[in-house]
Symmetry: C2
Subunit: 227 residues, 2 copies
């Protein structure tokens, strides 16, 4: 009767609307303070504080103190992947909180998925990298950077050696809820998004997961990652 992992605990943590709102906000990738998260969830700071303690105890979030601020973020890539999978199911069921608004197309086009690029652009990037044989499919879910790929990302200005050092996987797939296909996660996925932002090719919109490409940035991106 009682075998296997306890999904009820995780489910109940995600199951509260206020907490779900906070988690969704944190899928934007930026670490946020309790005050910001309270605003996102539409609750008071006291309530938010209590929720955040529970999410942290449940292992979904980590906390970083900085002066009188506390920054909360998803604790690891796994959490983002799990949430994205839940969103995929919910979206398939037509369970959207706000009816598809004007922002929706922007989200489907390019958005932040915890720390990497998702949406049409994210899927396109991975497809393009695979087609160019810069990324190789080595297993069912396993991706690897090829030698050519290493040269390629280094030429873009990414510090490949640094990526190798961390214990996190460099390449990883993440299922996209809007496209229902995979895009690139892992430390390389993160590094690429950071690169786009740093080079001013794209900007994160405030209080949204949407990523807006600049006119110049979009041109470069589409040339770098042809369909």
């Amino acid at each position: 009767m009682k075998e296997g992992p306890d999904i009820a605990l995780i489910g109940s943590l995600i199951g509260d609307p206020a907490r779900a709102n906070m988690l969704t906000a944190l899928m934007g990738g930026q670490a946020l303070t309790p005050t910001e998260l309270a605003a996102q969830a539409g609750i008071t700071l006291q309530t938010a504080s209590s929720h955040l303690a529970k999410l942290e105890a449940g292992g979904l979030l980590t906390q970083r103190k900085q002066g009188r601020h506390r920054y909360y973020a998803l604790s690891e890539d796994e959490v983002g992947l799990m949430l994205e999978s839940l969103m995929g199911f919910a979206a398939g069921r037509g369970l959207t909180r706000s009816r598809p608004g004007p922002k929706d197309p922007a989200l489907r086009r390019a958005r932040v998925c915890y720390n990497h690029l998702a949406g049409d652009y994210g899927v396109r990037m991975l497809d393009s990298l695979i087609a160019a044989r810069h990324i190789e499919i080595t297993g069912e879910d396993d991706l690897a950077l090829t030698d050519a790929g290493r040269v390629r990302v280094e030429s873009l200005g990414i510090d490949y050696a640094a990526l190798r050092k961390s214990r996190r996987p460099i390449c990883r797939t993440c299922l996209d809820w809007s496209e229902r296909r995979s895009h690139l996660a892992g430390s390389l996925g993160e590094a690429l998004l950071t690169l786009f932002i740093d080079k001013d090719w794209a900007k994160r919109e405030k209080n949204s997961r949407a990523v807006r490409f600049t006119a110049a940035g979009e041109k470069v991106f589409l040339e770098l990652f042809p369909r």
Copy 2:
């Protein structure tokens, strides 16, 4: 603030212990009656009935009436995949309901994942099929049966034409919570498990997700799918 799919609803459905127990029981793949599910969850029939109505309304379960019995089952493959992903995360956090008991090794070895084979044996089977080039990796998560693979499964007695007819994907990956690697889902995954049972190579244990191979069946299986 409110963008993206509503994960709170799904989360809260999974978040109740009684419902989580029922869902876990249904991961065994067999359709079960409210009476059976109530027993699994340790609640009365009335309570179970109310839970089942909610799970059905939420799209997680479907119901089939047969005489005075009602059989509940997971509504689609997607649900099983989502639950398995939640279990993966929970297991990674060490959140097991019963401390690893004697049944645990059997579960890790071979178990039913909704309608296909999971655990060490499930992972081994997919690895072996890929190594033999009977299944091909065509995209990030996409698998395809090769021509040689089609011949192979037909020689085992699987009706390939029937698989093609259904709208479900034939091959599909599913992340294994115990092995943390992928195994084969989709209609072919289901057909293979059914085959093993039909040929008496393996039996489902009652009230458990565990799959027990017979001595003869294990021999055949290991030969069919070498490491």
